[in-house]
Symmetry: C2
Subunit: 399 residues, 2 copies
């Protein structure tokens, strides 16, 4: 009568969603201020003022029928030219409009890319910890997601494990840096080693292995840390970008795919992306927001709140006795859980009204994710509670 697979995908609640919904219920009981909800990765910084201004200007200045009209499927040429110019200025690249395909955010971008590339028997490799929807999206494209175990010391890549898994069936490798959930940024050394191995394997297998750079957090990186721009390191790179985090526009669904000229069979890949967009009923990325990003693409992101929150939470957790890598990018910390079973740990934290997500959900047991895109005052108030939680495990107690 209906697709059982779709029903299960549509009704099985994710752990994150379950925790979030518990939080809403609990907030109604104990008050919003007494619940420390670190569950969701939803930007808490409003879109910058220049976004509002751009919308007003577009509605006042541009031809109204065009503003809300269909655009061609890859997005307006004039918008893609602006995006290309902006990326070229920032990263010393040579992209043109024809290299860009404007999408419904990074989720749209990666799903279209997976679908465009997938053939029967294909495998896509990613590195734990990873965004759990990858599995759903890769499988929907008819391929298999292969996960490389984490390297918890620094959340860079465990290359021994990677080399065990890359094979003639590998269609692409997906990286997400700055990373959700670890907060790590892959160093240039990591990227060089990764792409060296991939180049060697391309030769060995005699076919391209694409590097898909899922980078919605590119702009959110701290302390001038370098986020390597992957097309510089590897020809067969496909960039999937989103304005959800950099401009705080997650609900508007706007981002893009870049297929560089240098990528193997550039025109074929771009054509397959157009076909995948068609069957996924992309139609066109929202037309008003295509124009907004064209006007704003050179504007800076305001990451000061995230920087402040990350530092505050990190220092508090370390003081309470937690082990965690320093925040490098995105807006997540991914500390070690205080017992081996991260589900049990998060359940216990919940009793303290600390809502944390088990690392197992990201393919990395023994850890938890704390999204610090929340009110700074909530973080401040939660720090003594984290301390109590640690003390309940006998950590950090004054003797």
């Amino acid at each position: 009568m209906f697709s059982q697979t779709m029903y299960e995908l549509g009704t099985k609640k994710s752990t994150i969603r379950t925790i979030f919904e518990y939080g809403r219920k609990r907030a109604a009981e104990v008050g919003e201020d007494n619940i420390y909800d670190y569950s969701l990765g939803n930007p808490n910084v409003p879109a910058p003022a220049y976004i509002k201004q751009a919308i007003f200007d577009i509605l006042n200045e541009e031809e109204p029928c065009a503003v809300h009209g269909y655009t061609i499927a890859p997005g307006l040429v004039s918008v893609r030219e602006k995006l290309a110019d902006s990326v070229n200025r920032r990263f010393q690249t040579n992209f043109a409009a024809k290299n860009f395909f404007i999408t419904g955010g990074a989720a749209g971008a990666i799903t279209i890319t997976f679908k465009a590339l997938s053939e029967a028997g294909d495998e896509f490799i990613t590195f734990a910890p990873f965004f759990p929807e990858y599995k759903c999206f890769v499988e929907a494209a008819g391929a298999k997601l292969v996960v490389v175990p984490p390297q918890p010391a620094d959340f860079q890549i465990d290359f021994t494990e990677f080399e065990k898994r890359i094979s003639a069936e590998t269609k692409a490798v997906i990286v997400n840096s700055p990373n959700n959930p670890s907060g790590a940024v892959y160093s240039e050394k990591t990227i060089k080693k990764l792409t060296d191995i991939m180049k060697k394997k391309e030769k060995e297998y005699g076919h391209p292995i694409f590097l898909i750079s899922d980078e919605p957090y590119r702009e959110i990186a701290y302390d001038n840390i370098k986020v390597p721009y992957l097309p510089h390191y590897y020809a067969d790179t496909i960039v999937c970008y989103s304005y959800s985090k950099s401009f705080s526009l997650p609900g508007e669904r706007i981002g893009y795919i870049i297929v560089p000229d240098e990528a193997a069979s550039f025109e074929k890949i771009y054509g397959a992306i157009a076909g995948a967009a068609r069957v996924l009923t992309h139609v066109n990325a929202p037309s008003l927001f295509q124009r907004v990003i064209a006007r704003c693409c050179d504007m800076p992101s305001d990451i000061s709140t995230y920087r402040q929150n990350g530092t505050l939470l990190y220092n508090g957790l370390i003081a309470a006795g937690f082990k965690c890598i320093k925040p490098q990018g995105a807006f997540y910390l991914f500390p070690e859980a205080l017992e081996a079973d991260d589900y049990a740990f998060c359940k216990k934290a919940q009793k303290f009204d600390l809502l944390l997500v088990p690392g197992t959900d990201f393919g990395c047991p023994g850890h938890f994710r704390a999204s610090y895109c929340i009110k700074t005052s909530t973080i401040e108030k939660s720090l003594p509670v984290f301390k109590k939680l640690a003390e309940s495990y006998g950590i950090g107690k004054r003797s």
Copy 2:
């Protein structure tokens, strides 16, 4: 190296697109005013002033972080409540927020619905002439599109042909009324007969057969013609609506699905829709425009230009000797071609700078589609040219 199927879907140009692109080239040669481009179904009436006002009001009044933030996948509850209230007032229904799923336009709505319903071996029936993307979308969901031949006398339904095709494999029947490309509206008599047959077949096969009402043109109907509201006639109806035409917002990708409580396994179907939306990376319908339609859903559509254009073109074509049903809805005429081969006819029309789409593309040979959502002055100027075209076939010449 990539999906050949996606490549072909992404690069094989549709006839409409080819004609449109020819028109752009030709306009550059002979001037915009000397080309009569009836190829595209792109609204030429700008979005009403209340849309612009609603956007300004939302940006000035509502909490900025929420305005552009993620919403839950089915859309904001408050928005769905407003939509339900509005539909209930207009059609004396009893829908609630839980019956609505807000989507990226009607294309998003029907694709999600196809995917939610499809099981192996399923067939979806539609009636020629029909929107050609149905085939691509149904096949992407893993099912087969079965086409009932047209009834060109009035473009209602040929029930003899329908009864030959409905079978135990029929998962759903798709109707599009007011119709693209015929401009016909299915009468209450047609809908009653259709749903009577479907009810009988549901009993005979012992499983539901869904009726998918693809209705982006619902508001565009002339002379107070009644457009029957299908949930009143058939319990297992799923409504797929879009604001693309009624509010001239095709680029913004906003519409909805309604699954009535009365539909078989309401909760299962709604769950499967959520799953299909997830794998199609719907995420959420654009958040600003969710709020816009909530504020504007009771406002009237301005169809005066389309009414004027339809009448003008219809009268001109009839006077020139064409045969065509009177415009009842949408913004298309679908006259008989002046020779049996509609491709040859449209090629010949192109020599007169009249850009028309062959009916074969809509599963209805021997006809052509003329989209009259263009400038009224262009239609006026084109009428003597249609006359010349008819005369070249020996029609309407003064003896």
